[in-house]
């Protein structure tokens, strides 16, 4: 009995070893993507791209930050042709490390200038607006402040949820710094802390907490609410945008770039152009509720149209100084 158990164990091991035989990857016509965007979100449209173009695509999925770091460490030896990132900051990091290739103007010109890198190294594919998601049972929209800074008011004590470790939140604070200065940003975070704002691990958790009534409002991206409503259509949730060009109305992007070590540049350009095609933009609009960035393409009717959101005069490329933001944030939050 004992021997046979051992035999089974070793048989499993041996058969697994057989799998170690060298993997033969197709060369040349295979496009390799590092995607910080989740497979559940972009997998279907990448499949569609393969079907429509006959190009074979391989994707490595991980967090945007981790992949950006891995790309920096890999340098010229990276197998990746394209980096598909969740936020502008990670793309900025690669741009600073001289790892990106300039995109052709026909790609850059398909989005507004505020949604691509000034030097043309990356382009936004979809837009993600910062909003306040609130619980409609506990808060009326009239009670919400006219500015993001209004949440410093003590009436919001214990009622705010936020995601202090989330990249979108950091980008938003950086925008606040660029717009109003370091002190103003730090004072705002201090006000959140004084108001006993509840920290959550990520936007989803914060929105779920709003739905459950743990907190009344959360400072998040606009589409998390729609994700939750899909699972639980009766959740008492709504999104709030600030009036005017308040600093609360930042629009960040998810975007893509081509690595300058790529030997598949034409295919890579074709891929990015495809992601900005009507087919792909419609797909993102329907399934992720993000803003399509292709000029002239309408967003989902449930969203406030992009043109109606007045964003503060902040250049997305200025959002790369995360170090200062995090240092300031750390002084306040981490006590």
């Amino acid at each position: 009995m004992r021997l046979s158990r051992f035999a089974v164990l070793f048989a499993i091991l041996a058969s697994s070893l057989a799998a170690l035989a060298p993997m033969t990857g197709a060369q040349g016509t295979t496009l390799t993507i590092y995607s910080g965007r989740n497979e559940e979100l972009v997998g279907p449209i990448i499949d569609q791209f393969e079907k429509d173009t006959g190009i074979n695509v391989e994707v490595r999925y991980d967090n945007t930050t981790t992949l950006a770091l891995a790309l920096v460490e890999e340098g010229k030896n990276t197998p990746a042709d394209i980096f598909f990132a969740q936020d502008a900051g990670a793309l900025g990091l690669l741009e600073k490390n001289n790892l990106l290739l300039e995109l052709p103007s026909y790609i850059l010109e398909s989005v507004e200038p505020r949604f691509h890198s000034q030097d043309g190294f990356w382009v936004g594919i979809t837009g993600r607006a910062r909003v306040v998601t609130y619980n409609t049972d506990n808060v009326s929209p009239e009670a919400l402040p006219e500015s993001l800074l209004g949440f410093a008011d003590p009436t919001w004590k214990g009622r705010i949820g936020f995601a202090p470790t989330n990249a979108s939140f950091h980008a938003h604070l950086t925008a606040l710094r660029v717009e109003l200065g370091d002190e103003a940003m730090q004072a705002f975070v201090q006000a959140l802390v004084d108001n006993e704002a509840v920290p959550y691990e990520g936007n989803s958790a914060a929105v779920a907490a709003v739905a459950a009534g743990e907190v009344d409002v959360a400072l998040v991206n606009h589409y998390y609410m729609f994700g939750l409503l899909k699972e639980n259509p009766d959740a008492p949730l709504a999104n709030y945008y600030f009036p005017g060009d308040d600093v609360g109305n930042l629009i960040n992007i998810a975007g893509a770039a081509i690595l300058n070590s790529s030997d598949n540049v034409p295919l890579a350009q074709q891929f990015i152009a495809y992601m900005l095609s009507r087919t792909a933009q419609q797909y993102f609009s329907d399934s992720t509720f993000e803003y399509p960035l292709l000029i002239g393409f309408e967003a989902d009717p449930r969203l406030v149209p992009l043109a109606e959101i007045q964003t503060p005069e902040v250049d997305l490329t200025d959002l790369d100084d995360l170090e200062t933001t995090l240092a300031l944030l750390d002084e306040v939050i981490n006590q």
């Binding site: 004992r2 460490e73 990276t78 990249a167 743990e214 939750l228 981490n334």
Partner: protein, 528 residues
């Protein structure tokens, strides 16, 4: 005869060193990488960073968490191990499997379930509201939540290790104590527990290092410890993240010193042939013992499993989603986990022999160096291997299965080392010498005597690696061949975007294979 035997021993040590030193060098790759990265920070900036208030608070919190989790893991793990090996507890074999299973629940899933159940407005609060009108529970976030969840998903390291120890102890010592008129309790305290010291210390070391390296649970519970600080710092400045990781390495060494002290010096083997263990009748304590097991089982396993079952029900029955095919990720998961377990099992043997049979200072630390990879956050080890892999092996090993398995060995080898070592300590060298003097070759003695005797710990160690690899994420994501999909990757990908229904099926399958593999391992041992 004696002379030639001594000569034999020396050459064995040399042989072991010849295998172990290169292995240890390979295992220290991540450390080298961290030193390279951290040395780019100038020393003044480094000192400022390390000595500022928030860094010190992170250190304090990490130590508090490590201490409290280790303590509670013992309080849960040791009694449970004793009940399932030494008493007439009904359903011992079933409890042995079930109480190990919380180990396979990924901590991000587990913590999510705990928040759902015990959060300020969770299920538990719902009950209390209907019964007593309580509208809100005190916040689970912070220390309490982190302590609670990390304990629940790591105590099985102590449980498994101590079980292996209890099965290996010669019952003659305990029987002698009882015949000399000592009570069962006194025997447990004076004879059994001291004999278990290497096993407890091996288990606690694994729990402590797990606590240092876990990210999912502390992140979910918003408790700012090392890993969370390192993750945050990674996105900002890699060099500072490396610096923080080096501090973690220092703590790992300190924890190992503590574990050496805890283990003490002693002989853990006897010269007899072991007899069958006589089980202690529980009598009317049976009910209490059952309730104890049910309580742990309820919180650590039924809770998270119910959440998974709810996701499954809500997704597929209520919302009519299609079931995704998870056969391929299932195969991939089993393949890498089995390979990692095998590779760790094989690597553990020379290292453990060197440490136990030739316990010189140098030899001891060769083996202990393997523990460093285990305390580092997975993503740090992954980036270290990306650095080395892309630079020197970009056209050969980089992003292939062998390199992935190597990465798992760096990360999880200590799980195999701890129990294997403790089991070897129970094997008397005199028995081996007997074999040698009777003219058997060293190889025959190893296969015929030593290996069978040390098997419980060795197999338990490999089982631990298997289970942990199943849920591993950061290494798999960065280093697996591109497109390689495991169950853990499926669960991560779905939960990260709140598609809980899609996470449910792979999570459930993962728990089921883990249970099956545990039945295989634990059942095999109990029939000896």
């Amino acid at each position: 005869m004696r002379v030639s035997y001594r000569k034999n021993l020396v050459s064995t040590e040399k042989l072991l060193l010849a295998v172990s030193i290169p292995l240890a060098v390979l295992l220290l790759f991540p450390l080298g990488y961290l030193v390279i990265r951290a040395s780019e920070v100038d020393s003044q900036a480094a000192a400022n960073y390390l000595l500022r208030g928030s860094t010190l608070r992170i250190i304090g919190r990490s130590l508090l968490l490590v201490f409290s989790v280790s303590l509670t893991a013992c309080l849960i793990g040791i009694p449970a191990a004793w009940l399932t090996t030494r008493t007439t507890l009904k359903g011992r074999d079933w409890w042995a499997v079930v109480l190990t299973l919380p180990l396979v629940i990924p901590s991000y899933v587990g913590a999510f379930a705990l928040i759902g159940a015990f959060g300020p407005r969770g299920i538990f609060q719902g009950w209390l509201e209907t019964l007593f009108g309580i509208e809100r529970l005190p916040s689970i976030y912070g220390f309490w939540g982190a302590w609670f969840s990390v304990t629940l998903f790591s105590y099985p390291y102590v449980f498994l290790s101590v079980r292996a120890g209890l099965r290996g102890i010669d019952p003659a010592l305990e029987e002698a104590s009882r015949t000399l008129g000592k009570s069962a309790l006194e025997t447990l305290w004076r004879i059994t527990l001291p004999q278990l010291r290497p096993f407890i210390s091996a288990g606690v070391l694994l729990v402590a290092l797990y606590t240092l390296s876990d990210f999912g649970a502390v992140a979910m519970m918003q408790y700012n410890v090392f890993t969370r600080a390192i993750y945050l710092q990674l996105g900002v400045n890699l060099n500072f993240a490396a610096l923080l990781s080096l501090v973690l390495v220092v703590f790992t060494v300190l924890l190992m010193l503590f574990s050496i002290w805890m283990e003490g010096r002693g002989q853990y083997y006897t010269e007899h042939v072991h007899r069958k263990i006589r089980l202690i009748p529980l009598g009317h304590w049976q009910v209490a013992a059952q309730l104890y097991c049910i309580f742990i089982f309820g919180i650590a396993l039924v809770g998270p499993m119910s959440v998974i079952a709810y996701w499954l029900y809500n997704g597929y029955v209520v919302q009519g989603e299609e079931l995704h095919n998870i056969l391929r990720p299932l195969q991939s998961s089993i393949r890498v986990a089995a390979l990692a377990a095998g590779a760790c099992g094989i690597s553990a043997i020379p290292l453990v022999f060197l440490q136990v049979r030739y316990p010189r200072f140098f030899n001891q630390w060769i083996t202990r160096s393997a523990y460093l990879g285990y305390a580092l956050p997975g993503v740090v080890v992954a980036l270290a291997l990306v650095f080395v892999g892309a630079r020197y092996f970009s056209t050969t090993l980089y992003q292939t299965l062998p390199m992935l398995i190597f990465a798992y060995v760096i990360r999880f080898l200590p799980q195999a080392l701890g129990p294997t070592r403790a089991s070897l300590m129970q094997v008397s060298p005199q028995i081996e010498e007997c074999g040698l003097t009777l003219g058997k070759s060293r190889r025959k003695v190893f296969w015929g005597i030593t290996l069978p005797l040390m098997r419980p710990g060795w197999v338990a160690g490999m089982a631990l690696v298997f289970l942990t690899t199943l849920k591993e994420l950061p290494l798999t994501l960065l280093l697996a061949p591109i497109g390689y999909d495991t169950l853990a990757v499926r669960i991560w990908s779905a939960t990260a975007e709140s598609f809980y229904a899609r996470a449910a099926a792979p999570a459930l399958v993962m728990v089921i294979i883990s249970a099956l593999s545990l039945v295989f391992v634990l059942d095999g041992d109990d029939r000896r």
